[in-house]
């Protein structure tokens, strides 16, 4: 298992499902329009006497498959919502990659997916019955045992290869793509399906509320009036292949994952380091991994949750790294998707790639006045920027002080 001589890792397909849109194309249109399609949820999602907007996907789009429609229906029996979100985004990604299920059977397919909610057993009926001494119906437990995200995706698609479910909180999706890149570089697989997926859960709603991180209004990442995050659900997926293989197989290349790194704050269980110490390290190492200088970056898709601490630490870190701000546009897409936890890194990597390919970046939905306390102004809603190049950064910060960064290059067009 030795690293191949720096193969370039190409993105040959991508797919998303989020409140911003049923697929990646629709999401980009809605982000450009500044749409925040949230729904006000109250109890039982939140404690009584509290309500907050949440970003839910369009229910009709869930499980509307193209290529995956040929899979036998019983493969989807007992399938959880997070898994269904992942498969919906995978379906779009495979379609864009021009890849059939049959084609996948002859390749080693790695699956690296991030999640937070999708790895927990939180069925309340089962738990309550068990606690009250009533024999619980075993179906929810068996569903949980058959719902490890990567395992079930491999089984549903009928593919073999390395797999990982990364449970690194809100950076999990970014780490999924980074781990898949490493597998391809080491020759552990031929194709990788990578990203993240998460459903909205009332445990997360109650939990984030307890941490006083939830905004009762639509979230406003990077805005001077920001007062917290909104939770959301979704999935963001990339199909990766070594560039040489992709070209040999006649695949159209949408871009490349040039660099990846992960670094820790070693500071606090839930709060970021005030100067984004770990983020600075992650970005620096991701740039080095990709052989890209700071001057080579033409945009940053930030984590930008809308919490006072995250947005301040993140902008501080970007400034201290020496990026040419404000000439370099910095945005967050969470104003359009909500914070989708384990899915966020996957969604944002796809949005970054698509903005780079378009050469134009839309402003941050929900941000009307960039916080003047930041060392620079982020790109606000209704603004846009034409990009000077095709390489950008997508970055994630997580509980546990984990920070991850991807250097993404668009192929253009």
């Amino acid at each position: 298992m030795s690293k191949l001589s720096s193969p370039r890792v190409a993105v040959i397909g991508y797919g998303t499902i989020s409140a911003a849109g049923d697929n990646s194309e629709q999401a980009m249109v809605n982000i450009a329009r500044g749409l925040a399609q949230s729904t006000l949820l109250e109890a039982p999602f939140f404690p009584s006497s509290f309500a907050a907007p949440c970003f839910l996907i369009n229910e009709r789009s869930l499980g509307q498959f193209h290529g995956l429609a040929e899979i036998k229906p019983d493969c989807f029996s007992g399938i959880g919502r997070t898994l269904l979100l992942a498969l919906t985004a995978i379906d779009e990604a495979l379609l864009r990659a021009g890849m059939t299920l049959n084609e996948l059977q002859y390749r080693r397919v790695g699956v690296a997916l991030g999640t937070t909610v999708g790895c927990t057993f939180n069925n309340e009926t089962y738990y309550t019955d068990w606690k009250e001494g009533v024999e619980p119906d075993s179906t929810p437990l068996l569903t949980y045992l058959s719902s490890n995200l990567a395992e079930r995706v491999q089984n549903t698609l009928g593919v073999q290869g390395p797999r990982a479910v990364i449970t690194n909180a809100c950076a999990s999706g970014t780490d999924g793509i980074g781990i898949a890149k490493n597998w391809l570089e080491h020759g552990l697989c031929d194709i990788a399906i990578a990203g993240g997926a998460d459903e909205l859960s009332r445990i997360a709603c109650h939990g984030f509320k307890s941490l006083m991180l939830v905004s009762e209004e639509s979230c406003r990442p990077f805005d001077k009036e920001r007062c917290g995050l909104n939770l959301g659900e979704g999935a963001g997926i990339m199909i990766l292949e070594r560039e040489t293989d992709a070209l040999a197989n006649g695949k159209e290349i949408a871009g490349w994952i040039r660099g990846y790194s992960i670094a820790g704050d070693a500071y606090h269980p839930t709060a970021p380091h005030p100067q984004g110490r770990g983020l600075q390290m992650a970005v620096g190492k991701a740039l080095a991994d990709g052989g890209v200088s700071i001057d080579g970056i033409s945009m940053i898709n930030g984590h930008g949750t809308g919490t006072p601490a995250n947005d301040k630490a993140e902008t501080g870190a970007i400034f201290e790294l020496g990026f040419d701000v404000p000439a370099l546009p910095v945005v967050s897409t969470k104003g359009a998707t909500g914070h989708t936890l384990g899915a966020a890194g996957g969604l944002e990597a796809v949005f970054t790639l698509l903005a780079l390919n378009k050469g134009k970046l839309s402003g941050t939905v929900g941000c009307h006045n960039s916080d003047p306390d930041f060392p620079f102004a982020v790109l606000a809603q209704d603004d846009h920027a034409y990009l000077k190049g095709r390489i950008g950064l997508s970055q994630s910060l997580a509980f546990g002080g984990s920070n991850s960064a991807l250097v993404i290059e668009g192929a253009g067009g």
């Binding site: 790895c119 089984n155 690194n168 909180a169 307890s210 269980p269 770990g278």
Partner: protein, 265 residues
Amino acid sequence: MSVRISKLYCSDLSDIVSPPELARQLRRADDFIRLGVLAGYETIKEVLEKDSKSADSYGLTLGTSFGTMETNFEVLDQIISEEPVSPILFSHSVFNAAAGYMATVFDIKGSVLTITDFSFPFFRALEHGYLAVLDGRLDHCLVLQVEIYSVLLQDAKDKVSSDREEVWQPGVVCWLLEKDLVKDVPVYCIESLSIESRPLVGDEVETYLNFREKMEINDVSFVCTDPLATSTLITRQMEDTRAPASLDCRIAATYGVVKLNLQRH
């Protein structure tokens, strides 16, 4: 370059004793976090005492089957009974809480990952740690498996298990992987590692409760009946000074096969 396993540690929860110097950091910790931190402490204590580490050259990969299940249920209890959710409890219910604690306590600033899988979680974590050291992203990587299970899980296991008497013991296994540069003491090095997965069909998922992994180490067979057993057994073998210089390990289960070759040099 090969990757050496410089330090080893494994313990049941019932056997661990928190050293006083960790009392402050662990005052609010649950068992999942406590197991991770104490295993990390026992494994890199000497390195910390030398105080010569570069924080970003250290990383950790934690594998788990069931994660922080008991803490998840405590949060669920609060929600169901309409009590205010404790922010500390919620943050501890996130699966990477133990890894985050370890990073903070030991000032680990390199890659810190948590991987969740019902099948071979230790070896999946080992694969990541091994690659990270092999390609130079890390000089030192702690690889762990932490399991605390839950009473609910034990009850469910008892319903499907052929061995109802057996109780899965919460515990931890931890290895410190390092670049094989300093050959001061002979230790085992990872020569090869492969993980093959086999899809489970229908009720076969019950195998994650009715747990059976067959392990062979140099043609000696063991039947392992809990999720920590194989990594614990290999650890014990490596700790045995009479163990042969080569350990050829093969673990087979309904859901796949792991092959691990270790050579002492």
